[in-house]
Amino acid sequence: MLIPLYGFLRGDTIGLVILAQDTDTIREVGAKLQEAASVRVAPVSAVDVRYRGRLLDPERTVAESGLEALERVDVSPREAT
């Protein structure tokens, strides 16, 4: 099932619509947003995806992460641990 999300990539100037599937992993969501914004922001190898300030597990799916249509997610380059 299609779950359109509002995606905000750190470094970008605009929010984009991510057309995610409920079976997509969070990693794939991050990759989709990076690809969509790649005209303005160079993609990086690893990103963090946050929802309401909570860091999402990249291996879990959109459905498992509790994301519903038209939620805001924030994507940023993975911070060094």
């Binding site: 100037t13 605009i14 619509v17 805001r72």
Partner: protein, 497 residues
């Protein structure tokens, strides 16, 4: 013979008591506005111009002759062809957003000419309506001939009749500001906030920019329009003065609401022109400097004079002044085929100038332009798609503009769930405005929701051609097609400092 001062008020300020009907029947609150006050409270209403109809006709005739003579001298196609291509695109942006918005202002003024609560107010609003009709006709006339040269000028008339995303945002603002507002809200929102606060002074700035760019026709047009604006905008302070006495909380609310709403559109139209589309050699100051010098000081003094506070989001506004139009320009550049004018790619010298003018925000924005520049280098001239986005962008459920609030580091988009529906806003003030009058805005679908509902196509090409009414000949491109001399130099050879 009577002296002017002895007869003037018989012609412009003549009220009487009603004997067959109640004043509330003549001026119903839904049409005249809130608060509904007895006429004795409006009796002192006045404005400084105190023009008679004969004087109005005489003065306007002289202005028309003046515009006409400039048009005959420098208004030919070849005069426009001699202008810098970037500046021509500033013209296209202004030409599209200006005339039919002015026509909507005719309606707003005519409503005040009938339902304004004092006769002097109604007289001035009548002149205001005639002014705005003139402001509709002048750009329609001047730009019409240019369609033969460049079909993008067709959008001077076409813009507000389309579902282009900028037009949706424009109509959302204009419908409420000019068509739907009662005379009290119209006076505060349009005459005081928008005209006194922004456009009256903007026209002075634009006129000066046009002179620098060698565009005598545009200089004359906006200069001539400004003289009308200066007069009819005086309705605003005169209404506000009474409103503040009778209902200060409502006066403050209208100020807070309309300053933000009009600022966003103003920033896009004027910020683009001043900081990107005016050739660097003709720029005398940045958009931010212009705002600080011409708008902010004056506006803050006026607020103090009327006992009003600065809007509650003033600090957010000052932040936005640093960055908002840059966020939108960079975004729109990479979606330029969705609009009707072309964009200039800021080169090393322009980026150095922007860094100097915006030292706090530009370091976050420059990497975006570096990325776009690198892609142009890689693709070579003419390959527009390689520096163009393909994914749908997001829109604010209040202003209907793109979600470009905040900075590249922190976008200020805000979400809201109301009665089971989800909304998103570009900023806290947009969300606040929505929450004050949700019934007014809740049913309006932003473009993303239209796409999701199947009312607009999701595919970008279909969206641009079928929904936005653009064609390959009219959609926006890079003004030089990526063929900039500096792009041929090795990467980093002239990097911005």
């Amino acid at each position: 013979m009577l002296k002017r001062e002895e007869w003037l008020d018989l012609a412009r300020k003549l009220d009487w008591n009603y004997s067959y009907v109640e004043a509330k029947d003549v001026f119903p609150e839904t049409l005249s506005g809130t608060p509904w006050l007895p006429h004795s409270d409006w009796k002192a209403w006045d404005e400084p111009y105190r023009t008679s109809f004969a004087e109005y006709a005489h003065n306007q005739h002289a202005k028309e002759l003046s515009v006409q003579s400039v048009r005959e001298a420098v208004g030919r196609i070849e005069d426009f062809q001699a202008l810098d291509p970037s500046w021509v695109n500033a013209l296209k942006l202004h030409s599209a957003t200006l005339p039919l918005a002015e026509f909507a202002a005719v309606i707003g003024n005519l409503r005040a000419a009938r339902f304004g609560r004092d006769s002097a107010w109604r007289t001035t609003a009548n002149f205001g309506a005639l002014d705005e009709l003139r402001h509709t006709q002048i750009p329609l006339l001047l730009m019409h001939d240019l369609v033969r040269w460049d079909p993008q000028f067709d959008w001077t008339h076409r813009f507000f009749h389309t579902n282009n995303w900028v037009a949706i945002a424009g109509r959302h603002l204009i419908d409420e500001l000019l068509l739907g507002a009662n005379p009290i809200e119209f006076a505060v929102a349009t005459n005081f906030v928008f005209e006194t606060g922004f456009t009256n002074l903007q026209f002075v700035g634009l006129s000066s920019l046009a002179r620098g760019a060698g565009d005598r026709m545009f200089e004359k047009m906006v200069g001539s329009i400004q003289t009308d604006e200066a007069r009819h905008s005086q309705i605003g302070p005169a209404v506000l003065k009474i409103l503040v006495q009778k209902d200060p909380a409502y006066a403050q609310f209208l100020l807070d609401k309309w300053f933000w709403r009009t600022w966003l559109f103003f920033a896009v139209v004027t910020g683009f022109a001043m900081d990107y589309l005016t050739p660097l050699k003709h720029r005398t100051q940045s958009f931010k400097e212009f705002m600080e010098e011409w708008v902010l000081d004056q506006f803050q003094k006026t607020l103090l004079e009327y006992g009003l506070r600065k809007p509650w989001y003033w600090n957010q506004f000052l932040e936005a002044l640093e960055v908002y139009h840059h966020m939108v320009y960079a975004s729109a550049y990479t979606y330029r085929a969705t609009v009707w004018f072309d964009f200039a790619l800021p080169g090393p010298e322009e980026r150095a100038w922007l860094r100097e003018k915006y030292p706090r925000s530009w370091p976050q924005l420059d990497p975006v332009w570096e990325r776009v520049t690198e892609r142009w280098r890689k693709s070579g001239p003419g390959v527009e798609w390689y520096t163009h986005g393909a994914t749908p962008v997001t829109f604010c459920d209040l202003c209907q503009l793109v979600l470009c609030g905040g900075t590249p580091e922190r976008n200020t988009a805000q979400t809201l769930v109301r009665e089971g529906k989800k909304y998103i806003f570009c900023s806290e003030p947009c969300r606040w405005i929505f929450e004050q009058e949700p019934a007014r805005y809740a049913s309006h679908k932003d473009l993303v929701k239209r796409i999701l509902a199947g009312e607009a196509p999701a595919n970008l090409i279909d969206l641009v051609t079928r929904y936005f009414s653009l064609t390959q000949g009219t959609w926006g491109k890079d003004v030089a097609g990526g063929a900039y001399a500096w792009l041929r130099e090795p990467s980093g050879a002239r990097a911005a400092p």
